[in-house]
């Protein structure tokens, strides 16, 4: 339903996971929220049961992978997963690290990728909004 989709995109609660790395993507997301990008309705929550989408920042290792899966299970449907930054999307500089590195796609079904080190603020918000718009279509 169109109106339901509209409501869903007007109140998006994001659970941010800092999986490892420099933490710049998570900080960039905080800046994006307080900026003047014109995209409204996105807030951060610390409770996975209140969340609509999971924003993964940083490189995912063996330890953080388990936590990410645990958090993903707790988020009620419909939900979206967004991979933010080069580390999450492809491993970036840490690609050959020996502590069991994963890309976000290897861990969860990703709805949206935001590439770049560090990704732009508007791109982050736009990706979250679009992911929530299409979340029903993708079945996640």
């Amino acid at each position: 339903m169109k109106w339901l989709n509209k409501i869903r995109t007007r109140s998006i609660s994001v659970f941010v996971v800092q999986a490892g790395g420099c933490r710049d993507c998570a900080l960039q997301f905080s800046m994006a929220l307080s900026g003047n990008s014109g995209i409204k309705g996105i807030t951060v929550t610390g409770n996975p049961k209140h969340a609509d989408c999971l924003l993964i920042c940083g490189c995912i290792n063996e330890k953080s992978r388990e936590k990410i899966l645990e958090i993903y299970e707790k988020i009620p449907y419909p939900k979206a997963v967004i991979a933010a930054g080069a580390c999450t999307c492809s491993g970036s500089l840490f690609r050959r690290a020996d502590n069991g590195l994963y890309t976000a796609e290897e861990v969860l079904p990703v709805n949206s990728w935001i590439r770049g080190c560090t990704p732009g603020t508007t791109e982050m918000l736009e990706a979250i909004r679009r992911a929530m718009e299409n979340v029903r279509d993708t079945g996640h």
């Binding site: 609509d52 299970e73 009620p76």
Partner: protein, 280 residues
């Protein structure tokens, strides 16, 4: 007829307060930009979301708590006995706590433990406050108390009781230093987020119940002010909005500190007023 009007006015006033809070908060520098009706959008969105699996108990306890909140609201606007209203609110709180216990999840149990400590404090405060009220007014019926406040200036005898009941409102709304961290929205260490069994539909019903309960406490507090009913309700609502905004500037405390402060400010103040009324 006025009862019905009051019932809907109080039930709608709390979402309006939250919409006003959300608007003021979103225009402040450094805050997330939100829509004016974002609290309502959030509620509608939660109704659309699905709970984990077949969580019948979460549905049962959330629906039960909302029903008790509605009954308490009806009793409060009809001017029933203060203790009756408190007993219905305690049933509501107990249902939420039982729901959290029944989840079988670690965080649900922690949440229930904190709720239980808050429950003991606010129930003790309410009982001592009712004893003071009975001593000062000779009745516990809210409509008679409202009349006495208007004609006899009842507030002069029970100022600390009013403060303690306002602190109960702050405790129930998770505000200031009386926040027990039950909403699960507090910033936490990675992976340690506190959550309860409520999500999606059942969370939306719990949210509704909490709004109605806040309305009940606002209505109870408004009977003590020596002005007409609508004006006193507006004054208490504005005060509540002010504390909602003030909460943004107050640092969080851990739940044990919140419990200690609640014992001091809520239970302690009501006991002080009780002693004052009986011995001076």
């Amino acid at each position: 007829m006025p009862k019905i009007i009051w019932f809907f006015a109080v039930a709608l006033s709390v979402p309006v307060i939250h919409i006003a809070y959300n608007y003021i908060n979103s225009v402040m520098p450094g805050q997330s930009r939100t829509y004016i009706l974002q609290p309502v959008y959030r509620l509608l969105k939660l109704f659309e979301k699905k709970d984990d699996g077949d969580n019948f108990l979460a549905y049962f306890f959330s629906a039960g708590s909302c029903l008790f909140a509605l009954i308490a609201l009806y009793m409060a606007v009809s001017g029933f006995n203060f203790l009756f209203v408190v007993s219905v609110l305690s049933m509501m709180d107990l249902l939420v706590i039982t729901g959290a216990f029944s989840s079988g999840e670690y965080s649900g149990r922690i949440s229930a433990k904190r709720s239980l400590s808050r429950f003991v404090i606010w129930l003790f405060t309410s009982m001592v406050a009712s004893a003071s009220l009975y001593k000062a007014a000779g009745t516990l019926k809210l409509n008679e108390i409202a009349h006495l406040s208007w004609s006899n200036g009842l507030l002069m005898n029970i100022p600390f009781t009013l403060v303690s009941l306002f602190v109960v409102l702050l405790m129930k709304s998770n505000l200031m230093h009386f926040d027990f961290g039950l909403s699960g929205d507090e910033t936490s260490v990675f992976g340690d987020a506190l959550y309860s069994p409520y999500s999606g539909w059942s969370l939306a019903v719990i949210q509704l119940a909490q709004w109605i309960e806040t309305g009940v406490w606002l209505k109870i507090l408004s009977v003590f002010l020596p002005v007409t009913k609508p004006i006193s309700y507006a004054i208490v609502s504005l005060l509540y909005l002010a504390f909602l905004l003030l909460d943004r500037f107050v640092s969080d405390v851990d739940w044990k500190t919140a419990a200690r402060l609640s014992w001091g400010w809520a239970a302690g103040f009501s006991v002080i007023n009780y002693i004052y009324l009986f011995y001076f």
